[in-house]
Symmetry: C2
Subunit: 371 residues, 2 copies
Amino acid sequence: MRYATTLLAVLLIMCRGFSQATPPAVIEDFKPSVLNQPGQEYPQVNSQGYARFRIIAPTADSVRVSLGLGGRGGTLLKRAADSSWMGTTEGPMDEGFHYYNIKIDGGKFNDPGALNYYGSVRWESGIEIPAHDQDFYALKNVPHGNVQQVLFPSPSTNTSRRAFVYTPPGYDKDAKKRYPVLYLQHGWGEDETAWSNQGRANLIMDNMIAANSIQPFIIVMTYGMTNEVKFGGIRNFKIDSFQTVLVDELVPYIDANFRTVANATHRAMAGLSMGGMETHMITLNKPSVFAYYGLLSGGLYTPEEIKDKSQVKLVFLSCGSKERPDAVKAAAAALKNAGINAVSYISENTAHEFLTWRRSLHEMAPLLFKN
Amino acid sequence: MRYATTLLAVLLIMCRGFSQATPPAVIEDFKPSVLNQPGQEYPQVNSQGYARFRIIAPTADSVRVSLGLGGRGGTLLKRAADSSWMGTTEGPMDEGFHYYNIKIDGGKFNDPGALNYYGSVRWESGIEIPAHDQDFYALKNVPHGNVQQVLFPSPSTNTSRRAFVYTPPGYDKDAKKRYPVLYLQHGWGEDETAWSNQGRANLIMDNMIAANSIQPFIIVMTYGMTNEVKFGGIRNFKIDSFQTVLVDELVPYIDANFRTVANATHRAMAGLSMGGMETHMITLNKPSVFAYYGLLSGGLYTPEEIKDKSQVKLVFLSCGSKERPDAVKAAAAALKNAGINAVSYISENTAHEFLTWRRSLHEMAPLLFKN
């Protein structure tokens, strides 16, 4: 119950991400967002982080973008001279990735200019406010690992289920080398595409491997809302169904079909938001399966919950500075006091959004599989 | 020039796919389309192939779906009692996959109920009319190959480019086995996601391999509009840029990173529509690279064009029966007369759409890599 409550609180602050201070004067250096569909000029972003939208709907009565000042219903667009609808956020947005949608005459649609990302149990429009530290997740001229879609048999759900598997650069070159594995979960309303698309997990890994700052490992991402599709169900979340898919079906499939080191000290589980809640439950239920735990804006562990401390190699806890940083730091300190290798990380000036989680992956990866 | 003209003609009939006979009475057994977003009730399809749409936009003046009777501007929705907008196509749609979008108060948007597919240089809504022969591309309980995203270096375009690579079931089990490769191109306005998403190429392969009706091979799919993003550019299409990416960069990358048989008699190139035009040009320019050629609704070869007939192991030509079947059959007959192993295939009751190409892949695959 506590986790359901925590998660609900976390979900309630998901819409933040907008600075509430008096906004600076707008500099007119807007450029198309890097997440636009090919050839699309709008949405645009300026050097301060303002976002500007343009929607074609000549005879609409009202067009509103969901992004903008929290609690005020986003950004109302105005009819321009060419009868398009235009508008700019009232202030700079937080750095990083944001989901949004557009309300047109009372209906919710996506921005035809932007690429779509699965979130909120729908494909939503996405926009990227360039971050000062965007280099760590940039597409660079380094060796690239692959992200492969696998369809694994799931007798418990009577179907073939999809997972994406990141294999590091050179995976196919040395048929003898074996790798540790991180099972990495998305948040509520997202799916197994989130960590590669919104999260850029593969590029974060490629760049760290090229810089020799981590040992290469495999990442496995699958759908975590096995029995929860509708909002509201989270309150009665039961882990059993997903735990069976993950631990009894996917882990053995990965160990049989990829060159893994198939034991707990070479297996990590982490997740963001609801994926953290799942990580928390499954790691505690199955201490012999995973030895590294990561909760990214996804709850906390208490020392009392961890029965055999010798089995836990790392607890990584993180969130954005606009979430609950003090709770995350205090929880990590309490775990350390109890003799557990716990690390906390706070992403500066971000909320419950993907830049927090890209940075968290970047901080957590070098700490994995050290023992 | 002839190919540009052919292709323009082909593009002009892309909007067909709607039976023009007097439509039968509508049977009220509508079900959500299998391509809907999770939990979405609309769009729906009935057993006759009628499609029904429902859009929420309470204060809109006009909502029109692009799908429907060709030349009449699709299907105009009407305001229902609950102030949603609803409408049903005037007749049954062709079987298979269709792109569509929605015009709301003069703007073009996607249906929030449907999944999106990249076509027409934008992510479009998709709907599936169940085909009588859908079994060959169904997700079944058989061993599944993987579809992996690779990022390959492209010095000629100064970036890392994306390709998707289908590897057959068991690819990772036997480190000694090598495979032939089919390079398979999408059509105008589509991208490297099309053959897996709309085309279900991986499932078609999995099912044929499970049935032992083909020898397993690798499929490589990359973006073919290297220098063409805007409509209209097709008239001045130059193959050089894409040919360099494909032949000088991607083929060597695949041969270096996958267990291929790296010679022409184990390499095929095929493409749909514009991808056929590209296949035609590249196979003729580079006869020592590919020995198997496939044009799916994508033009024809004449015997005169093929200089060294001994290098060509197969020419596969196909289209839908609602396209130009006589031209395809005549071209294959002329090639056969000239001593070339040419095969034609006509997809019954389909037009310039993806069911034609799913079926074409299914017909072509058993003929590849026989010599």
